[in-house]
Symmetry: D2
Subunit: 334 residues, 4 copies
């Protein structure tokens, strides 16, 4: 039996990092070698998150000591804070999957317009955008994978078949996310009394996932300016994107067949006849999609449902690690 | 002190009818003369809905007996079933506010495309569309008012100022509604376990509120085919419409001022700087609106939040009755 | 028309203070003269709480300036911080309703066992426990009223009729509260993702409302040590106490009649045939009670449902102010 | 590799049956040979429950044909309807795990007091009560296992260590369950708008799980009449029992040690220092327990949290099947 690959989660106290730790702790091909965090050091993860049942203790990061033992690291730091750590890990030849936005945008200028000065632009060239359904082979040979944002994951899977056929004319994406998407920080926004029995939009009109979606649509042959708006809905995990597409021409092809062809054999994309609900994909790595044409207007509507913490974050990290280390793509997450 | 106007709620066992009964029961200018229903006859309304605290008993409808005592009736029947009853009431000279869709669409053909054969087309000409912010004076002299659908109420208030200025190029409306919007019937869809921790679209791509919105936008000078999609979100009362507008030209006017001018003095429209939440309007007759321009794309985004059972149904009924009987517009609902 | 009584809410940024401000802002006999807070100074209350629609600005407290203009103050500070402020207000002859626990326990030693050193023990003698259904006349002539805790309010109304008849042998109270009861502070406990789809007990086995309930049961002739446990349930407003009573003897009297007699004429106590739900009393000053005898065991079960922010806090404040100033007991809250 | 045991789920359209089907469909040692139902025949289970991802079709029961192919059947019928089917299966030598109450109560008279005339009393003697932590060896050799009720499962695991030591004096159990516990039937009670933002008790004071708990406490040496009350809380899956115990004498032993000793090595019982939340056990076969002594009153409080659909129903079925067929106890559910 081959030695298991040693991996650490750096930033394991947050929602995405902790779930990644849970998945890797039970993964047949990885050994969860360390958990580090910037808060809650010294506490066990199963104290913070009893339902994950990971009996490991959060440590302070000791870069040299930790890196020496690792084959790979998952970095779950905020944007801006992540890139310097990723650079240090790459210098020590540790493979990285980064959950932040720091290496998702290939164009440094775009990053700096939407985020902040880039802390490690020299690494942008080697980063691969970690959407396996799109970049499977590049991920397999990558040393640095930028795990996609949750909204881009759902939106790109929903729109990809149309984008690649050159059918996208104009796109509006209206997204709804559960509150876990807002992170572990206790704020007015994440207070139960604020979110319960409520729905509202946020980050209007400039949500930072917009350029990420545009970049990848362009890479599929659809260089568009899209409209993207995110809403918070009163549930824990789950995310739905409702995509409204003005077709490039009055194309009449069979869209269900187009999607069936595009996703044949994809283990984590599921096509549904009717609009998917986020319950259908809770606690899975699956994106569930339906496509509808409104004969009255010619507009096409595509829905994509994911679990924002799984396919939108932690289980997609594991899917990427599986590809990077030659494991079965669904190991530990199917 | 003048005699109070005698009004009955016909169909008072459902959510909208019952709330209308509650509001009228405490109204200074109306006397709630009877409650009829097609289920639960013989039960008291405060048994079905303790929180409404209306200690009246649901009766079988006895048209002649009831009509003889009434100045007005609120009809809360399903579409198709409502029109014949409304016709009978109008023959007996009872004023009517109808909660169904039967008299909302002025064009019989459109009604019949989206609903069913019209049971009383002869009454279409006299019906007034009961959106007070748009048809205040017509309502004041009307004998038959068609209370708007919940989504059209929010959408038309959100888009009205742009429509009247001729600014609407293309419109996508993505709506989210609490589960009370699906009615009192216990079904798979309204089961707690289906709706909880879930979000999904329904009636795609042909929701019946679409032609109602189009009719009224056209009446404001914007004859468009719109895209309208409704979603169910896990909350009780509340509805948000997110409207994505491609402007007719690259108009640069100050939209906040446009909306402020349009709604100055309106007692039940509230303008907000940031995206409104449905909690902000719960249990009120208020529509809370924000307007945003995305400089990157030129697209305009308008949010409108209402309580689907109040401004989207029952309290708008009362607002209409107030106008029809010369009461203060906010009596009993402010 | 008589001048309205001038009242301020000190500590108006929290949930209970803000709702008190909303109720007083629309009260016919009170003028809401000022809102002070220890956070968010300079912000308008309708910015923090849009749904309360109180367009007043939160100020720093300036005791001399504020007190000079006031007939009464509502103090919504934490225990320990409240008493010194109350003392300063009383020195300036301002009547006070205090939402904290500081003046609820008549026995200083008991207070100090459960809370902290008492900051103003000299005022304990003049404080009246503000449960109107029990101390109506004392409140009417009081200058300092200690507004009861939310759990004691429900528990004492549920158990009072049995206590006064000497029927209580042993009492277990299992309480369930919505998350607003945990206050406005954003913490791990009030984070949506913690509370959603969850139920758990807290402050076991020494919840601070225990001695308050015991004090008042003793005052009714039932000097017991009770067991009281509180649970957090995933809803916003609402509180249910389930009281399990071992009767003092195998009393056989008609309990429904006992309760009907005890609460005849009480405007804010409602008796129900079946177990009340917290929805039945949302946004009201009502306590809804049902009483059941288990013939198999002889045990009596009493349920009491209130809205923890209304009857459990803010609307009971207004009920007390109404009594203190000779207004109708239900003014502004019925 | 040995042949997998052939098992069917009869009554697979309900919540518990469907989840059992999901667990067995992926079980390494069982083959899910058939799904039958009394509604929805002809539909695929993944159409009714997409998240279970079981692509099998619901059939009408054809007893001879089905039984001939089966090693075991899981029966998920309502009480009264289950027993005759179980009898027919046993006649055909099919082993059965029955989810109904029909074989839980050993005493026919008790069953008939709480339920209805017993349809198959002759089978009572051979039925084993399927709580593995209590009857592991009996289950291993049983042909008919009565799967415990959800509340008894949690209550008996919470109280067992005290019962077996003879410490139980008097017991009050206050239970809270998510709405899935009320079953798949769409009713007023399970309507989202009824359950959302609500808490209330039901079946007061005679909930049918009472005699089941009493029977098993007596079997452990604690013949008591208990008080048991169930409440519905607004969440999907999850159940908490809060047990209030008057100890038989003023026993002073270390309760945490008692519980640790009692449950050492139990794979599905977890002891917690603080009160467990139902989130901690969601989608698991685990019962999480904490025990607390109130020094002031001498009373002991024990909390037990389970997932009502897993340990309270479907995963406990699988645990029982594993024991009956000599598989690892945690196969397919760990």
């Amino acid at each position: 039996m081959p030695r298991r690959h040693r991996v650490a989660v750096l930033g394991a106290a947050g929602f995405a990092g902790a779930l990644t730790a849970r998945l890797l702790y039970r993964h047949p091909s990885f050994e969860l070698a360390a958990l580090t965090a910037r808060t809650d050091v010294g506490r066990r993860l199963d104290e913070l998150y009893p339902h994950h049942r990971v009996p490991l203790t959060l440590e302070d990061l000791d870069l040299d000591r930790h890196a020496a033992r690792l084959d790979a690291a998952v970095v779950a730091y905020p944007h801006g804070a992540s890139a310097p750590l990723v650079a240090s890990l790459r210098e020590r030849d540790v493979k990285v999957v980064d959950l932040s936005a720091d290496f998702r945008l290939r164009d440094r200028d775009v990053y700096e317009q939407w985020y902040c000065e880039h802390p490690a632009p020299g690494l942008l060239a080697e980063a691969v955008y970690g959407l396996p359904e799109r970049y499977r082979s590049e991920i397999a040979s990558a040393s640095l994978v930028a795990n996609p944002g949750c909204y881009p994951t759902a939106a790109l899977l929903a729109l990809g078949p149309l984008a690649r056929e050159g059918l996208l004319g104009d796109v509006v994406i209206d997204a709804k996310s559960g509150v876990s998407g807002a992170g572990r920080a206790a704020t007015d926004k994440t207070h139960f009394v604020t979110a319960d029995e409520n729905v509202n939009a946020y980050s209007v009109p400039r949500h930072r996932h917009t350029p990420e979606i545009e970049q990848e649509l362009a890479a599929m042959g659809a260089p568009l300016r899209i409209t993207f708006t995110a809403h918070l809905v009163p549930l824990d995990q789950g995310e739905l994107v409702s995509c409204y597409v003005t077709m490039h021409d009055r194309d009449e092809r069979d869209l269900e067949r187009l999607y069936a062809d595009a996703y044949r054999g994809e283990p984590f994309v599921e096509l549904a006849a009717g609009p998917p609900g986020v319950r259908d994909v809770r606690d899975t790595n699956i994106c569930r999609i339906s496509v509808h044409r409104d004969a009255r207007t010619g507009r096409v509507i595509v829905f994509g449902a994911i679990d924002n913490l799984w396919k939108g974050a932690a289980s997609q990290v594991v899917q990427n690690l599986n590809l990077m280390f030659g494991c079965g793509e669904g190991e530990g997450i199917a």
